[in-house]
Symmetry: C2
Subunit: 426 residues, 2 copies
């Protein structure tokens, strides 16, 4: 095979004066890359035209599909822009503004995470932190084990960087708990390089216990893997539950990479400011090389994010109380609907619900396109987009509780009526 | 070979209960990816510690090494932040804020580029536009032909996306003009997918003529390749020369991808706002899929960039006059130094100069570490970082004229004195 390939290439190299299109470039226009062709479109975006059509028909759409909090951004962040004192908005350090990084060290110390300024990189959102971790720790075709269902965009970052996602199945029936650890070990191959968790989890709201994290630590240390933990929802834990960061575990310093972001913490999704934390200096050195190519994270976002560190503690208490209420209400109401089941999420602001429908993709399209109740309907994210195992999650949807209780009340009533009317009910 | 590999994998898959580290994960800590290991550090950053040491020793360092303009950001951009009227800084559209994109359509129309809103994507800097173009148009190991010397970070974007850079040599002796087109065709193989130019060029300042662009168009259409053009310096053309965008060429609609940015245009490098333009709907569709994974470009940067569209025309005239003066001064003065040669760049704000030294890397380190004149020295970018052909550019440096004439005068005097004193002079 290889010999043939080389021969072909030499042939091409020596016959280039011939006026013929090259092998792969025939046709009327150059083709899109294979990776671009197989890259899935956002599973949520697919429904957007149906939501737009409904709105154009005068129907109010309640958005249970998105992770955009309705909570206000802290006033200190907006004020920092009002007082912006710059005459040139220039490049900053590739690892993030030094003043911001230095204040972040103090911030994390307050959370029980002791790191120094060289163990922290500011990134363009948590999204970029994940891509940079993949680029630095995994090569194309290397495998990362991810509990499933998982945030759909993880698959996008894996596709962009050539990494293979190996799903670790978890089930709605037992609240999306991790399977036994022997099941995890069964998935480890000679291409496995990392285990990647989201804690608290998007889309399931699952919150990892210290015991589970210690067991994961045991596996990654014993099998010499990385443990990447996306902790962007760490403030959103309910019933007084405590979030435990992998950066708090001991003996995992060279293995642990934490992904963080200001998006949810301060309702600043648009800033595109995230962080990557690790005590492994080789990872930081490598991440920095990739980060230098894109020059620096957004300057204005970093200035607003730095100011946000002065957000009064009251802000978080109020947000937490509000989301805790919403969760309690949502889960109770969903489980009151005949045939519907959702476990009690302990973190983040999503829950995955199983519906009595033939196909949640069809149902989510139908409810936008063919249904309304008092000129209102709801948009949900079909859970199929959060699974890569074929057929999994077919009856499930992800519901975000980013609406106030009044709107949630109406939205769940609409869902209940829709389930009664849906022709594909099972 | 392949059979052996498969056998190994099956072996591992069936022996996973054994408590042994997997093949690739032996050692005290998990290893960095191969791509991360071979990824070069920024060639400029390598000298930063020497510059810092000089500064700590009380030596003033004139920075001729960076592309950070000293020109002020337009007041309208800063004012937009002072007047920021948002209570939630939320996610925007993955393709960029609609108001901004719609105004950009008008902006480009004013430049003779007729596109609609769906032929334009806002990106996180021009950097991301290049990565997205690579991801969407090229697969790993596909080749992109790039005139050499080229902006060092192109190699970083290629490394991140697995793309192979094939250099198209150009020489300082003939002003870095493209070689004859038969030379370009010789480089085309069955893996070639794109030709990638920077116009005006960083680091050489080379400005492409309409005739050259028409010839490139002829090649890419005939060989069915993409033509990617980084045009972030389009305002910086001198002696009244006109910049021609590939988006102005006819008959290349499916092949042409233009990369743009507000960084240099408005001296807004820190905003991280760029654009990708193409009339090929398949590229837009694919780029959007990758862009959706990272959610959206920075919101505050886009608001400032949108406001910047109201920058008065006077701003650009003044900037252009200033840079034209600096260029004239710099090129004249450099060529007056015995043994130094630099061609006359017609665009951007860099020039590559050949110095009478054994090794420009050594010289750039020496001038920071072992030399000063009146307690002053200069920092330059060794050109070796802009070449991948081994040995090329060994006597060359890139000099950015982002200092005012007064500072440039001193900086060139320092360089002249340093060349007299340098032990490795040839």
């Amino acid at each position: 095979m290889l010999a043939v390939k080389i021969a072909k290439r030499s042939y091409k190299r020596t016959h280039l004066h011939q006026d013929k299109p090259a092998n792969r470039n025939t046709g009327l226009m150059p083709s899109i890359s294979k990776r671009g062709t197989i890259m899935p479109a956002s599973p949520i975006r697919r429904l957007v035209p149906f939501a737009e059509k409904a709105k154009n028909n005068g129907i109010k759409v309640f958005h249970l599909n998105i992770g955009q909090p309705d909570i206000k951004t802290p006033a200190v962040a907006i004020e920092a822009m009002h007082k912006l004192d710059l005459s040139v908005i220039g490049y900053g350090h590739s690892a993030g503004l030094e003043s911001y990084r230095s204040r972040l060290v103090t911030y994390y110390k307050g959370r029980g995470i002791n790191i120094n300024i060289n163990q922290l990189m500011v990134t363009t959102g948590g999204s970029e932190a994940i891509s940079l971790a993949f680029l630095s720790c995994l090569d194309p075709d290397d495998e990362v084990i991810v509990p499933e269902p998982f945030y759909a965009n993880y698959y996008g970052f894996a596709s962009s960087t050539g990494v293979q996602v190996v799903p670790l199945p978890s089930d709605i029936e037992n609240g999306f708990a991790l399977p036994s650890f022997s099941e995890i070990e069964k998935l480890i191959t000679d291409r496995t390089r990392a285990i990647f968790i989201c804690n608290p989890n998007n889309p399931t709201g699952y919150l990892y216990s210290r015991e589970e994290l210690e067991q994961l630590k045991d596996i990654v240390v014993r099998r010499n893997l990385y443990l990447i933990s996306d902790e962007v929802y760490s403030e959103f834990c309910y019933d007084g539950a405590q979030h435990i960061s992998i950066m708090e575990l001991e003996g995992i310093e060279d293995h642990a990479i934490m992904v963080d972001s200001v998006s949810k913490r301060y309702s600043e999704c648009g800033l595109r400011v995230g962080m990557l934390l690790t005590r492994n200096p080789k990872i930081i050195e490598t991440v920095l090389k990739f980060a230098q190519a894109r020059l620096c994270p957004p300057a204005l976002g970093q200035i607003a994010a730095e100011a946000s560190l002065d957000t009064p503690g009251e802000y978080f208490k109020e947000v937490n109380i509000e989301y805790n209420k919403r969760r309690d209400f949502l889960v109770k109401r969903l489980n009151q609907i005949p045939g519907v089941f959702t476990p009690m999420p302990r973190g983040a602001f999503y829950t995955v619900a199983k519906l009595p429908v033939d196909d949640a993709d069809k149902f989510c399209q139908w409810i936008l396109n063919d249904f309304s109740y008092n000129k209102q309907t709801v948009m949900m994210a079909p859970a199929s987009g959060f699974y890569i195992t074929p057929g999994k999650g077919k009856q499930e949807v992800r519901i975000a509780y980013v609406l106030n209780i009044e709107d949630l009340t109406i939205a769940i009533e609409i869902l209940e009526k829709a389930l009664q009317a849906y022709p594909g009910r099972v």
